[in-house]
Amino acid sequence: MRKKQTKKKNSFGLGSKISQLSKKNCPLAKKNDEELNYKNVKLLKKYISDSAKILPTRITNVSHSKQKILVREIKKARALALLPYVTN
């Protein structure tokens, strides 16, 4: 019983800070504009579902600023038939 209580205390003190640090980082953080491009189809394919929908950030952990760019590039690639709009 005592051990359980100490664990709970940790989650409010130092433990919570550690858990924040171990949160997954944005996978596109180090990609610059030239890499994150509509021509980089291999990279973009990782961020669309099997039915070709754009995946939400809660699944992919992409940061908000990069997601904005990513969505724009996926839509450009779709316009040029490099990526599909829908797949059956």
Binding site: E34, N37, K39, N40, V41, K42, L43, K76, R78, A79, L80, A81, L82, L83, P84, Y85
Partner: protein
């Protein structure tokens, strides 16, 4: 003068001559308004993700142009009525990219 990135897809039945003709016409339009082509990339015959005008394949060509907004409009207007061009996309850029695109590397 702005820098544009212009990509067009030619129909799969187009010959080398057809593509040369398209390229010549684009150059003519650019020469009229003192624009120029910085770089061309040939991505070759690729499968399309969805059929466009009943074609399942297409020749991709990518150009980096310098010109005014009117010149790019004129190029797009020409491609709209050309039967050999299925689809096109032009994008305004801030500066020219230094490296080749991933699609060109993929081909080789």
């Amino acid at each position: 003068m702005n820098i544009y990135e212009h990509t067009y897809i030619a129909a799969p039945e187009a010959n080398k001559k057809d593509i040369e003709n398209i390229e010549k016409k684009i150059e003519d339009i650019l020469n009229k308004s003192s624009g120029k082509i910085h770089k061309t990339e040939d991505w070759g015959l690729r499968n399309l993700a969805y059929p466009i005008k009943k074609n399942n394949k297409g020749y991709y060509r990518n150009l980096y142009l310098e010109g005014n907004k009117d010149t790019i409009k004129e190029i797009e207007n020409f491609e709209k009525f050309d039967e050999k061009v299925i689809k096109y996309l032009s994008i305004k850029l801030k500066k020219l990219p230094k490296e080749d695109s991933e699609l060109l590397k993929e081909k080789v």
